[in-house]
Structure formats: C-alpha cells, structure tokens
C-alpha cells in the first residue's frame, strides 16, 4: 500500500510527467478514436502507427539527436502520407481498404526498421532510446514532451468542441454533408491530421504495435454502454485515462512491470467486461432476459393448465389441486413445475393448503387472461392467414406470452371479440 500513497502523492517528478503524459496521450487518442470508430476506420490507426517509424528515423537523421519536435514532425509527415496512400489506393485501384492498409502498413514499417537498424549500426551521436518507439517506454517521458502532449490535446479538444456538429455529420453521412456545402475534404483532412498527431504523441510511450489499441478500444468499449454520442465520447476519454493512470501505477509499484502494455491490458479487460456486462447488449443481461422469458413461459403454462382443471369454471367452490393433477393434463419438468408454483405462490396467485394448492381470485383471473390471449391469437391466425386448424394451437403456443395489453386491445377490436373466445383448438 506504500507504493499507492507514494504514487498518488505525486511527490516524484518522474511520476508526475508519466501520469500527465498518459492523461494527455490517452484523452487525445480516445477523442480522435471515437471519430475513427464512427467512420468505421478504426484500423487506420494501426496503419498510421506503423508508418510513423520511418518518419521518426528521418527526424532523428535530420536533427542528429532526439529532438521531440523534429521527431514529431517526421512522424506526422510519414503518418499523413500513409493515410493519403491508403485513400489513394482505395480510390484509384480495385483493392479494398483492408488490403490497402495491410500493404501500406507493412511497407512503411519495413522501411522504418531498415532506417532504425542503420542508425543503430552506424552509431553516430546519441541514439539511445530510439528503439523505444517499437515497444514503448512510458517511463522515459520528459518534461518537454509533456508540454508538447498538452499542446496536442488542447488542439484536438478545441477542434472537436468547435466543429463537433460538422464532424458528427461528416461521420454519419458524408455525402449529405457535401450536398449542404460542408467542405468535406477539408474536414477529412483535419480529422486525419488530428489522428496522426494523437498517434505521434503516444508512440514513444506505447510503441508502434500497441498504440492502435488507444485509438480503437476506448470508443468500442464506451459504445456498449451508451447511445448518446456526447456521453460515448466522454466515457471513452474517462476509460482511457483511467487505464493510462492504472498502467503507470502498476509499473511504478512493481519494478519489473512495463507501463504501456499494462495500459492496453486494462483497456482490453474493460472492453471484455463491457461485452459481458453492458445493458441489453451484454452477454450477462441477455442471459437474464432469456431466463426471465423462460420463467414467464413456465408460469403462464401452469396457469393455462389450471384453467383446464375440471373445477375451474365453478366460481363458487374453492379450486384445489395437486401437482399430479397438472401433469396429468400437460407434461411438466418436475423441477420447473416446483419452481413455477413457488413463484406463483409468491405472486399471490396460488395458496398452499397442506399438500394441496388453492387458486386465489386473482389467480383465476390471470389464468383466464392467458387462455384468452392464446385463443385470441388462434382466432387471428385463422381469420387472417391460411393455416390449418390442427396447426393453430401450436402457432399460438409461444405468442400468448408476448402479447402486450395494447396488442390485446387491438386484437379484440379487430376480431370483434369480447372476453374469452369460445373455440379452443
């Protein structure tokens, strides 16, 4: 726990640089990543990241040292050329975007590795740390670099806030945007440049290979939680910053642990968690919905079977029955029947009386309602479709459970039936 308080007291200047750096890098890439995600161009981040390497090497060769501004300029240049090339190939050849990205990414990366090897072998000047661009080294973030990252974040934030509506329209429907006179090419250029900037900022900390996760993952995870674009963007930024700081902390607390890879691991865990637990779309919530449905079906089938018991129509005498009475009419899974009856008792539709069960007044009403829905649907199928009478019952079997009161009213009106239809199939 010592390391925790040490870390978050920010007394160590190095910790401050790393944390500030990660916040800027992660917020920047989550913002541009949201637009890349919306425009279905998530993979472009990967292409750009790999293509930055030759630019960084050029920047180094020109400067003769690790000058952050020149390295960034070089990276920006080749990153931009790579996006331009991908678009050019897609537009002017038969190759599709995935192929174009693959081709551009690998050629630029190869060129980058060639240059990197050359620089290291010739051994001129201080090239220490240039290989950090491959796998990332967040601990090496310096004060100058932090100021550069802050500038980049401010630029990205300003553009996104000022041109939010235009960028959204461009992402949703670029053709329409062009017809109302929006300078689509210009905005595409701006978005592309911001993407390259964000990636170029993060590349030293995360490395060529992992940086694309910062572009793709936060927006993808956030999308599972919200339909509102502003919330989506905010959530993507928050998730990304949280992971950035977590990664930095893990690396601080355990000497042998790297920052960048831990950032990506926590991001991936959050995404995985979102896929499992997100409302409605997540696995877990879908499992609960399915379980709820299957319980509803069991309960209503029990109620429907009770309707068929000989004494049901006699309102004056108490309707008592046992489980065997029910299974004689309709086969039930024993376990399901037990649980279903327990649930009906809890809902006050059935009462326990010794070993037997007694129907309550509301229980009788509910039974009759389910039967009514079943028979209404049978009538609807018979009148509106060409269905054989011996198939009508099975056709209505599942539907009775999902008919809402509104549809019930509409069925009654359309069929001109009040109460429970007489015919039973």
């Amino acid at each position: 726990m010592h390391s925790f308080t040490d870390f978050f007291s920010f007394s160590n200047a190095n910790v401050v640089y790393v944390v500030l750096g990660m916040i800027c890098i992660n917020a920047s890439s989550a913002l541009v990543g949201t637009f890349a995600f919306l425009r279905k161009r998530s993979l472009i981040g990967d292409a750009v990241a790999h293509s930055l390497l030759p630019g960084i090497c050029f920047g180094y060769l020109v400067a003769g040292e690790k000058n952050p501004v020149l390295l960034l300029a070089g990276a920006f240049l080749t990153g931009w050329i790579s996006i331009f090339l991908v678009d050019y190939i897609v537009r002017h050849s038969r190759l599709k975007q995935d192929t174009a990205i693959g081709v551009v990414l690998s050629s630029f990366f190869a060129l980058g590795v060639v240059l990197l090897t050359y620089i290291q072998k010739t051994g001129s000047g201080n090239h220490a740390g240039l290989d950090h661009f491959l796998f990332g080294q967040a601990a090496a973030i310096t004060r100058d670099e932090v100021s550069l990252f802050v500038v980049i974040l401010v630029i990205i934030l300003t553009v996104v806030v000022v041109f939010y509506r235009q960028l959204v329209l461009l992402s949703f429907n670029p053709e329409y945007a062009a017809t109302i006179g929006l300078p689509v090419r210009l905005f595409e250029f701006v978005l592309t440049s911001l993407t390259v900037l964000a990636i170029a900022a993060g590349i030293q900390a995360l490395g060529v290979i992992l940086i694309s996760a910062l572009i793709i993952t936060p927006a993808a995870a956030a999308r599972l939680w919200t339909h509102n674009l502003k919330w989506l963007m905010l959530l993507a930024v928050v998730i990304s910053i949280f992971c950035g700081v977590t990664g930095a902390y893990i690396s601080y607390a355990r000497t042998a642990m790297p920052t960048g890879p831990w950032v990506v691991v926590t991001l991936s865990l959050i995404t995985l968690g979102s896929i499992c637990f997100a409302p409605r779309r997540g696995f877990v919530s879908r499992y609960y919905i399915r379980r709820k449905n299957s319980r509803k079906i069991t309960d209503e089938n029990i109620l429907k079977t009770i309707f068929k018991l000989p004494g049901f129509q006699n309102q004056d005498t108490e309707l008592t029955f046992t489980r065997v009475n029910l299974t004689e009419i309709r086969p039930f899974d024993t376990k399901e029947l037990h649980r279903g009856i327990d649930r009906l008792i809890r809902r006050g539709l059935i009462q326990k009386s010794g070993d037997d069960f007694v129907m309550t007044t509301s229980g009788r009403k509910e039974s009759a309602r389910i039967v009514k829905l079943h028979r209404l649907w049978e009538q609807y199928l018979l009148r509106r479709t060409r269905i054989d009478t011996d198939h009508v019952h099975s056709g209505a079997e599942a539907i009775e459970h999902i008919i809402t009161p509104e549809i019930e009213a509409e069925l009654e009106r359309e069929l001109g039936i009040k109460g429970i239809p007489e015919d039973d199939y």
């Binding site: 429907n173 017809t179 006179g181």
Partner: protein, 264 residues
C-alpha cells in the same frame, strides 16, 4: 422566382465510373412546381444522375444548372434525401439529432443551432408523423420510420427543390401514404420534387413528369407519353444490347467516351 426558369437543366451530361459511362449524353429540363419521377431498370444510372445533379460526382462532360444557376449559388434552396441504405443506422444519434442536421449550413461553420432551428426541426418531424419518436435512437426505428427521418431532415432545410433517392423502397403502407400526402403539400406550395422510383405500377399515380433512363435518356414527358410499350421495351426489354456491348468495349480498352474538340 421567374416561371420561365427551369428547376433543373441537365445538359449533355456524361458520367463515368472506371472509364465506363453510366450516364451518357443525358439532356433534360425540368419545370418548377412539379413532382418528377426518374425511372429505369437497375443499374441504369438513376442514382448517378441524382448525385451528378447534387455535385457529388464529377461529370466527364456536360453540365447541370439549378434554377438557372450553378449549384454553389443556390445550395440553400436544394435538399437531398439519400438512399436509406447509404448510412449506418446504428450510429449513436436520436431522430431529432439527425433532423437538426438539416439546419446546418456548410457556408457558416460557426453558426450554432438556435431556437428557430429547433422549432423548424420539430415541425418537420411532426410533418412526417414521428413526433412521439423524436428522442428515440435511430437504430431502434423501423425501415419506414428511418426513411421518414431522412425526409424530415430535408424538410428542415426549407428548400425549393427536393431530390429523393428511392424514398418508397422498403417502407410500410403508413410511410408511403405519409410521403405521398407530403408530396402533394409540397407541390401546392410550389416546390419541385425529383424522385427516383423503381415501381412502374405506381408511377402514373405519383408523378406529373417522367424521365426514363437506361444509361441513355430513353424518354421524357408526361406519364402517358413516356409509358408507351416501345419506350418501356427500349428501357427494360434488353433491346439495348448493342449499347451495352459498346459500353463494355469502352471500359476494357480505356477508350475515351468523346473525341477531343467535338462541340457540345
């Protein structure tokens, strides 16, 4: 608006994809205040013609004028309704969000949406009968409702000329009749509507004027003039096999569609 000015003038328009002409020497003038249908078989260049009119595709020859001017001069008077399938409806936006896009102007990027914009957007939503769905996510709408969102967005532009690409495809009966009564209302207000349509059964009920395309212009005029057996068999009956053979030759040999210096 002077009556003698055409809503749309398409002059000798040729548009090619990959060197293959999909629209070839198209020429027509459309009067203001009419509901005009563009018909023709699949792949006959209907959508291409609309995109060329909207400046989304660059013609290889010819030109388009709208209200006697270039598109850029009258952009605020033209509204475009793209095909419903042309966007991803899973995009995180509400009905109102999308309809408000109709109030954006490309020429003034810093203008914010104000109260009037909101009112106009809400009126447009009401006109297509989606008021109760205004805050709903567009991903949760039916196909017909999505189509109506696109039409509401165009209405919010308060234009004089509307270009709609297949608004009747895959819509329910309620949407179809909603669109049809809207069209009548727009016509009564003197607006011009150009609609790409593929269902020959209904064309004579919907439209005042027809343009029949199959790469070339096959016929233009009032429905009874256009919908003749000869015109339809020219457009749909595979009578144009020679034309398509030429088109294939042009594409394979990267041949120019027009010789240099030939006067248009």
């Amino acid at each position: 608006m002077k009556q003698d000015i055409h809503a749309i003038e398409v002059h000798n328009l040729t548009v090619s994809y990959d060197g293959r002409p999909v629209l070839w020497d198209i020429d027509f003038n459309l009067e203001c205040g009419k509901i005009i249908g563009v018909i023709g078989p699949n792949g006959s260049g209907k959508t291409t013609s609309l995109k060329a009119i909207m400046g989304l595709l660059k013609p290889s020859s010819g030109f388009v004028k709208i209200f006697g001017k270039s598109l850029d001069e009258v952009r605020d008077r033209v509204a475009y309704v793209p095909q419903r399938e042309s966007v991803d409806w899973d995009f995180p936006a509400s009905v109102l969000d999308v309809v408000l896009m109709g109030r954006y102007r490309g020429t003034n990027l810093f203008r914010r949406s104000n109260k009037t914009d909101l009112e106009i957007a809400l009126q447009s939503i009401a006109k297509v009968g989606l008021t109760e769905f205004k805050d709903r996510q567009i991903s949760q709408l039916s196909g017909g409702q999505q189509q109506r969102v696109f039409i509401a967005r165009a209405l919010a532009q308060q234009a004089d000329l509307y270009l709609m690409d297949e608004p009747f495809v895959g819509v329910d009966a309620a949407t179809e009749s909603a669109i049809l009564s809207l069209l009548q209302e727009m016509k009564n207000q003197g607006k011009t509507v150009l609609i790409i349509h593929h269902d020959l059964q209904t064309v004579s009920d919907y439209f005042d004027y027809l343009v029949l395309l199959n790469t070339r212009l096959i016929a233009k005029g009032e429905p009874h003039e256009v919908l003749t057996k000869e015109n339809l068999s020219n457009a749909y009956g595979g009578q144009l096999t020679l034309l398509s053979k030429i088109v294939d030759l042009i594409r394979q040999n990267e041949f120019p569609v027009r010789e240099k210096g030939v006067d248009l």
